[in-house]
Amino acid sequence: MGEGFGIVAIIAGIVLLVLMIPAIYRIVVGPTAIDRIVAVNIIGTKTAVLLVVIGVAFERVGMFVDFALAYALLNFVGSLAAARYLHKTKAMAGSAQPADQPVSGSGDTDAASSSPSPPAP
Amino acid sequence: MSEQLPAIILLAPLFGALLTGLAGNRDHRRCFPILISALAVSFGCAIALLVQVSQSGPIDYFVGGWNTERVPLGVGIQLRIDALNALLLVVITTVALLTAVYSFRRAGEENTEKTPQFYMLFQMLCVGLLGITVTADAFNLFVLVEVSSLTSYALVAMGSKSRGTVAAFNYLIMGTVGASFYLLGVGYLYMQTGTLNMAAIHEILADPAFGKSSTVFVAFILILVGVWIKMAFFPLYGWLPNAYSYCPSTTSCLLAPLMTKVSVYVMIRVMLSIFGADWVFQSLGWSHTVVWLAVIAILAGSVLALAQVELKKMLCYLIVAEVGYMVGGAWLANHWGMVGAIYHILADAFMTLCLFIAANIFIKHCRADRIDQLEGLFKRMPLTSTGFVVGALAMIGVPPTAGFFSKWYLLRGGIESGQWGYVIALLVSSLVNAVLFFRIIEIAYFGKNPAESHDHAHDEDSHQGQAGEATLLGGEGRPATVIPLLITAAIVILLGVFNAPVVEIIQQALEGMPVVGAAAAAR
């Protein structure tokens, strides 16, 4: 951690961590789940950044960058799951709209395999 | 090939599980032969190892070839087989094999579409238990404990009874706490010694400087509490009765004899091989306290068993009491107490198996699990009843069954160390067992008009669509369930009658240990 930039990294890291406090405040206070989720999302993104920061502080960024990358990719999954949860429970509670055809999201899709949705009452 | 046995004994069921997964899904009938052959290989290995060990002393096996000639001890993982765990290997493989035979078709009925998965879990459980037994690495033991626990949670939860699922959840929570405490204890030890190999830790801890180290002390407490949770020692027994009585019958036959016993083995292994008898019994000076805990466990287990109306639950509480026997025996801090405890591990495994198989057959045929609903059973199924009675007699401690001799050694240990409370608890519990079992035997022996229930049995059989099946006697269960029961009953008796060679092997295992060794016991 000798070189000058290590210090920069550490300072940046500390600032990042301190600035996470508002996010944690939001987590504590709420008031709704989705507020918390937003804060979580922020912390997740910042974690990826912090990993890079730590890597720089260790002077071994090459070793840390891999899973910062993994984080950047996977961080998405948690938020997506939460969002989907809210969607689905909403769909359950509220009135369902007439069936649309399944969205072909990704390339090698399979409209056939996604089971046909039962018509809503 | 023979020097590879310590690895093969584990690999056989592991490959069995994988093969079941690959081949069994398509055709469920393939599962059973795979299971039997895998366990048979294991059983053969266990016997071979026992012979090898009793002839030429402990076997060291270094996984990955990291033997002590190349690298310091503890770099690789060591498997070590001495007389003690060789005996236990034989017990585990035998019980597993017998249960496997028992599970023939039964497992298929209980888990209709999940038979392959059931058998996979079954075999992985065996892998875990065998692995716990052979390993000489404190952390490796944790991993294998998790293998066995995880599979057993699933086996318990697989049943159709909803209470079984709740019990499985409790079991999981308690089991995780137990395993975590163990892991933490190992961490404390690692922190103080820098190694994970049991022998290496032992060597380092032999330094008197560690006699007063609070870290080692806390490590010991943590490991002990962890293992106690796993073995359902009295105040920590809460998970056991429900988990074992509401799970599918095959599962209960497999878990009840093995899980707690293997945990007791782990405790003894930790006491003797990691901390050393000297440290545990002399530096620590806790023997009296733990033996009194064991006394409470025995009495509480017996009393709780007395209060039960369900057959399997009663047996479960008896396991709690039996665990008290073993813990107390191991902590008597003398040769005979330790011999008794180890011998009781073996004896109790078979006794419990015997009782659980019999109870399961009873329950299946009566469609009821309360004790007072077993009326007139002896008339209907004389062979099953014989097995049950043998198990019951062993539990009471009637000669020449194995249960008598384990009690015999335990009592000797108790008297020699002057632990009168333990002696009295042992006797009281024997009496309570006598009351319990004769209550059942009485009900099953007297019962209502036997002829009527006989017809009824036929009805039931045909109702279940098994009328075409060959049965030994009129109301008897199918041979695949009765034969293992009778074999187990025979083992219970033979283990008692021929206890001398077994005890000799146990003494060989304890040889040279400071407090519990035979030399130390000789006056």
């Binding site: 930039f5 920069v8 990042l16 939001r26 709704t32 960024v61 960058v65 | -």
Partner: protein, 122 residues
């Protein structure tokens, strides 16, 4: 040296944006506005900080390994840029579905409901 200076500047800028996001997260009155602050500020600040460190990695441009790290850092940027807005979007949507009422505008109209109505008409 100049590279380092630029890097530090970028990092500082990132931290400032993050400060903004953080303040917004605490101070804004309702979920949607907080989301607005968080989504934008957070993404941008992350990008800037990572970019800053990436530039730093180019300081001695001799071995190929360093370039790989630089590229990976750029990839992190790219993915943050891709995923963070998407998850913001998903959450926003979910929040709406969850029935969180935004603080209304001056005309008392819920902006989201309006869009929705319009789209239904199309």
């Amino acid at each position: 040296m100049i590279l380092d200076l630029v890097a530090i500047l970028l990092i500082a800028a990132g931290l400032v944006f993050f400060l903004g996001a953080a303040v917004g997260l605490v101070r804004f009155p309702d979920f949607y506005t907080r989301m607005h602050a968080a989504g934008k500020g957070d993404t941008l600040s992350s990008l800037l900080v990572v970019l800053g460190f990436a530039l730093h990695e180019l300081r001695h441009f001799d071995g190929s390994a360093d370039v790989v790290v630089f590229l990976k850092l750029l990839a992190i940027c790219a993915f943050i840029m891709l995923t963070s807005p998407t998850s913001t979007h998903a959450l926003m949507d979910a929040g709406y579905e969850d029935g969180i009422e935004p603080v209304l505008g001056e005309d008392g109209e819920n902006a989201l409901t309006e869009t929705r109505n319009r789209r239904l008409k199309d």
